[in-house]
């Protein structure tokens, strides 16, 4: 039986998604500059 998730979607928030992308890009840039 498929379960419906309504509130538990971490990536649902667009602001969170943008912040996550920025953060991961910064981490990647930092790693490559080391």
């Amino acid at each position: 039986v498929p379960m419906e998730e309504e509130e538990d979607d971490d990536d649902d928030d667009p602001e969170n998604r943008i912040a996550k992308k920025m953060l991961l890009e910064e981490i990647k840039a930092n790693l490559s500059s080391d």
């Binding site: 602001e15 969170n16 996550k20 953060l23």
Partner: protein, 92 residues
């Protein structure tokens, strides 16, 4: 100065603990936040400003876990703005 240092350390530890569980899909995020924290100036680490930012981020992440990266990003940006400049030239 230094009045907020111990309290700031405690709040930062709490924030880390909470975020560790919420960022399990990207385990590189927490070490990055720690390195930003380590590079911040000691005066900032003991400041009321950091105390305010940490308290705000902590209470918000408790209310809205689906915005965890927003608050981590905010904290990283704040810490970066108060980082010691330590660019050592590489000897060839």
């Amino acid at each position: 100065g230094g009045g907020h240092r111990a309290e700031n350390e405690r709040l930062f530890g709490e924030f880390l603990e909470l975020c560790t569980h919420l960022t399990e899909d990207h385990p590189e995020v927490i070490p990055f936040l720690c390195s930003r924290h380590q590079k911040a100036t000691s005066s900032f680490l003991a400041s009321a400003e950091l105390h305010n930012v940490l308290s705000r981020c902590l209470s918000r992440v408790r209310l809205r876990r689906n915005k965890v990266y927003v608050y981590i990003n905010e904290l990283c940006t704040t810490l970066k703005a108060h980082t010691l400049r330590r660019k050592l030239p590489l000897a060839s």
